[in-house]
Symmetry: C2
Subunit: 336 residues, 2 copies
């Protein structure tokens, strides 16, 4: 039997630790007004990005984020051997249509808002497994495109509840290489789908928190690590309601990751911004990663980070069947 890189039940360790050599983020106006507005590569002046629909704007954000991530490293689109991407729109159309225009070999993924971690995890396996030397992992979301697909016609102006999260208008792309300079992905934990019976589409944080807790616990057990191994453990988009539940679950599991624990959905916006419980969407953790967080790693302010990106596998298709909302969380360890 060969030396398998799986450790414990769900974690893989990368012998050659793929390098994040470049990254890029493009965010919407509200994200630009938030506390990290200066840390993103590009802040859009409006939600249309020169297109005639929000869906087309979302696709363009993804495409441009991929191009920008390569351009920042003086590479062309053709220098990416393969692109891995997914998004929230039905049939992951933002990714499919961006891939059409980028014209590179493409693997489509769906992990809801956990997609950035899934794309980096799969991408890391493909590089560490010697299949490719350079690829791009990317994802995106758009507040208005998601709102009208998942909830109500946007123009209707339906009143959100306090537990509702604001889908981020944001795209993030990471250039992952077998060699180079930058933070390295050293391990990843593939999540299970966890469903505690939550069925309120206006409270995704509660639906995802159990998956975040399960993946974090599994990751630490698999690698026999304590939470303080990491300078920062950051979940994807639990926002304030989900983060509070996750903290209780961490305490139950004896993990107590405070004070090194935070959540991208809480970080992305200022408390004064009108986003109810906080941010969500594939772009939430993707933009936080491809903006402030990787910059902090570059500066050495963070040296070991665990991103536990969370996804609510919510779909009107199953809500119509009276189903509850399962969650999933994939984790990636990034180290200097």
């Amino acid at each position: 039997m060969p030396g398998f890189k799986k450790k414990g039940s769900q974690t893989v360790v990368f012998e050659k630790a793929p390098v994040i050599t470049s990254w890029a983020s493009i965010v919407g106006p509200k994200e630009g007004e938030g506390p990290w507005g200066q840390e993103f590569d590009s802040v859009l002046g409006d939600y249309m990005f020169g297109e005639d629909s929000w869906e087309k704007a979302e696709k363009k954000m993804l495409r441009e984020a991929v191009k920008l991530s390569l351009d920042k490293r003086n590479l062309q689109v053709d220098d990416a051997e393969i692109i891995l991407a997914g998004d929230l729109l039905n049939q992951t159309v933002s990714s499919n249509y961006a891939a059409r225009e980028l014209a590179r070999p493409f693997l489509g993924l769906y992990g809801a808002c956990s997609t950035m971690a899934e794309a980096l995890l799969v991408g890391s396996m493909l590089i560490d497994g010697n299949f490719f030397s350079r690829l791009v992992s990317a994802t995106c979301s758009h507040h208005y495109a998601a709102s009208r697909q998942y909830r109500f016609p946007t123009e209707q102006g339906t009143q959100p509840t306090p537990s509702t999260q604001w889908t981020a208008t944001a795209a993030g792309a990471v250039v992952l290489e077998w060699a180079g300079v930058g933070p390295r992905i050293t391990a990843g934990t593939i999540g299970k789908v966890i469903d505690m019976g939550q069925s309120d589409a206006a409270d995704m944080g509660s639906a995802m928190a159990p998956a975040a807790a399960d993946t974090l616990k599994t990751h630490l057990n698999d690698l026999e690590r304590l939470p303080d191994y990491y300078d920062l453990i950051v979940t994807g988009d639990l926002a304030r309601v989900g983060m509070a539940i996750a903290e209780q679950l961490f305490i139950r599991d004896g993990l107590l990751p405070k004070p090194n624990y935070s959540d991208c959905g809480v970080l992305l916006y200022d408390e004064k911004q009108d986003v109810d419980a906080g941010g969500c969407g594939c772009g939430c953790s993707a933009a936080m990663l491809c903006g402030p967080l990787l910059k902090k790693m570059q500066k050495g302010e963070i040296n070991k980070m665990l991103l536990v990106a969370t996804g609510a596998l919510m779909s009107p298709t199953m809500a119509f069947q009276g189903e509850s909302i399962p969650g999933i969380a994939h984790a990636i360890a990034i180290e200097n």
Copy 2:
């Protein structure tokens, strides 16, 4: 630079050639009445499978196909280290909810009807890369669930055009292992998204044929092979209209794969069955693979097969934007 397993522009070659040690298929009544009805593991008596909606029936088909594929090898669900799956329903809910019930680490994929090849390609890389020793790749589709999502309310009985394809009610699952007895996946080609401007949702075959031709040509070029290297080259679900176009494109490219070329969408049903141009859907190539085709390989009637699974990346979300329908095709080489 390490010895990369990428050959040419888009193809990966597997040093250890992951083994297909088991497989299972579950199909609907119409597929059971087709020419290969006896070759599937299970033929459903109706379209509900004991559930109260088509969508729930689809999810159950996928779940049961995964379990059956493991059971046929005397394995439990927990023996699968990871499950890779995707499907056609919005947010790939059949896969997400089946994964919830299977409770194994899960990677969600979206490649439309190319998903079986995508799941086997990614799965092969994860095994050949030494990350896992055993996993399951699976997909499914359900005629009535797909019809009402993509086209018209099913009960409306909208008249199909002759180019329309019949979404197969079918699920297929493959157990992929690092060692064992069975046909082996020796190489794979990751497709590009190709769009020739076709926008007729009642003619997916024409939308997908250019992607099939591109991937086949690339695969053969990358590996410096002639079409007659394979006993059978089989596309996923082009059906009669798309297959005719693909054949013309193959001729244009100097490939002439006849007489060893066929298409799962043409094979799945008898010409006398009321399926217009033929079959489509993720389950079409998945069930043909996990039924008649792998059985033929087991018996030595086929020793080298190339599955070029095709996906129309169609979505009402982009049709509403006036967009055309891109296609993608991923290829996997299976050899005894």
